[in-house]
């Protein structure tokens, strides 16, 4: 089977080297003993202790977790309702386009719009404004995933339940929700990861007192190379890889159903 690839092996493995080489260098250098950014001087885990003892980074990490968790909850509720509405109650391609627009619209345009809105409402910027903004585009991703799942499953079960006298709410909890569970897990994890790593919108809608982790990272990388960033990068990469792997499991379950 693999020999069917022929010369196509070159771009395939080439792109993997291209994608993983820079990341690998960061991970490797995060264990460097000295703070020389480009010279290997020996193994050490001291940069990880520097991370843990850095109040800025820990504060940013805490803020990011709060934002990501609340964003995930809001976008799961709103996105799931919207997906069911679009799939079962109002089939309209233009409404569907509106629902998915926050996911593909340029983040910078959304960011300045939200900043304009919050400013004209005289809303103090802070974690709450980041959460409102993140839920906007995360919701669109949840809608897309749940909508895709609903298109695969037969709506006749729901119709049967309603014909037998079940209420819409009852049908929702007894039939619809269990059948879209894998999509909810995948969508929730996706929303969580997206919020965790989002910078542009957070940069515009955040107050100065409560930076999220990407904002902390931004202020660090602007001032050049440091082994601390390498250690932070390694931790962030591990967390993202873990979440994506879990999400992937659920998408596979979804395919099998």
């Amino acid at each position: 089977m693999p020999n069917r690839l022929g010369w196509l092996r070159i771009p395939l493995y080439g792109v993997l080297v291209f994608l993983y080489l820079p990341i690998s260098v960061l991970i490797f250098m995060s264990f460097n003993k000295s703070d020389a950014p480009f010279t290997w001087t020996g193994f050490s885990t001291k940069w990880y202790s520097v991370l843990i003892s850095s109040p800025n980074i820990m504060e940013g990490f805490k803020n990011t977790l709060i934002v990501a968790i609340v964003t995930t909850i809001i976008s799961l509720v709103l996105g799931t309702l919207l997906a069911i509405g679009l799939a079962r109650y109002q089939k309209s391609s233009s409404l569907e386009a509106v629902a998915l627009t926050p996911a593909i619209f340029p983040d910078l345009a959304l960011a300045i719009g939200l900043l304009a809105l919050f400013t004209s409402l005289h809303l103090t910027l802070g974690l709450h404004s980041v959460i409102i903004s993140h839920a906007l585009f995360c919701m669109a991703f949840v809608t897309a995933i749940v909508r895709g799942r609903l298109a695969q499953i037969d709506s006749s079960l729901e119709e049967a339940a309603q014909d037998l006298g079940d209420t819409a709410v009852g049908t929702f909890f007894r039939i619809t929700l269990p059948s879209i569970k894998p999509a909810l897990i995948a969508g929730g994890l996706l929303a969580f990861t997206l919020s965790l790593d989002e910078f542009v919108i957070a940069f515009f809608t955040n107050g100065p007192s409560s930076p999220t982790l990407p904002i902390v990272i931004y202020s660090m990388v602007r001032f050049g190379v440091s082994p601390e960033i390498n250690a932070l990068a390694t931790v962030v990469l591990l967390i993202s890889a873990l979440i994506v792997t879990i999400a992937q499991r659920n998408v596979k379950v979804q395919d099998q159903l």
């Binding site: 480009f38 629902a99 409102i132 910078f199 990272i217 990388v221 190379v225 993202s240 890889a241």
Partner: protein, 297 residues
Amino acid sequence: MALAVKSEERDAIKRRALLSRAVFLVPGLTYITAFMLIPLGFIFAYTFLSRGTYGGIEFIFTLENYTRALDSLYIGVLVKSVLIAAAATILAFVIGFPVAYAITKLPTNRQNIMLVLIVLPFWTNFLIRTYAWIVLLNTQGFLNKGLINMGVISQPLELLYKPGAIVLGLLYAYIPLMILPIYSALVRIDPSMKEAAINLGATPAQAFRQVTLPLALPGVLVGAIFVFVPSVGNFIVPELLGGGKTIMVGNLIRDQFLKARDWPFGSVLALSMVIMLLVLFFIQARVNRRVLGDSRA
């Protein structure tokens, strides 16, 4: 009597259907209206207003923001942004298409592993991925060191802070978004169509060019939009890898909102970017419809 009951029942069912429709649709659509449609309306309105003395806006109608955007300085920035984003998109296609094609040739379980490997870097922090290239491309960085040790060069090359470095950073960041839609377009192609072409006397190369490539076109266009859209408005990669020398439209918009505090002018720049992208979406939808129409016929 029976009829009256029936119509009452029907009314109740109708009311219930209307109610559940509202329960499901209203919260999400209200949220999108409040936090996307209205804010974008604000930005559009700002383009006709004057800047406030200390940021913000003043409600004095003007077209000056538009005439100012026509200055060759800003047009130049817009053109440069488009060229850089287009270069990243074309490179992503040239590299990404063979990669996507190669993945379709793998056994199914290995296809999934390969797809996860391709997307995994995409789900990690964008700033960190961009920063990694500073570590690699710096004059004292790993690439220069490696080349000097191998004797290829004697003096370190200045690889960063050039348009090429921005293209590379954008390519690195978004190439998974090109590979995935092309892959899903390719796996959906019925293999019998290619076999039919070969049975009718086409060479494998001809079958590829006349069957596979056109049917993959919708996927290519989706990928192109996925790469181009975040590239053209990007301000992180130009700042970190372009050293601020090559300013793209994203940097300009960011600066108008956060530094120069000229929101109306920033809004005009953002509007021009959005209109350009809407034109692209429109083209994509047209081509998509045409290709899908052809394959159905």
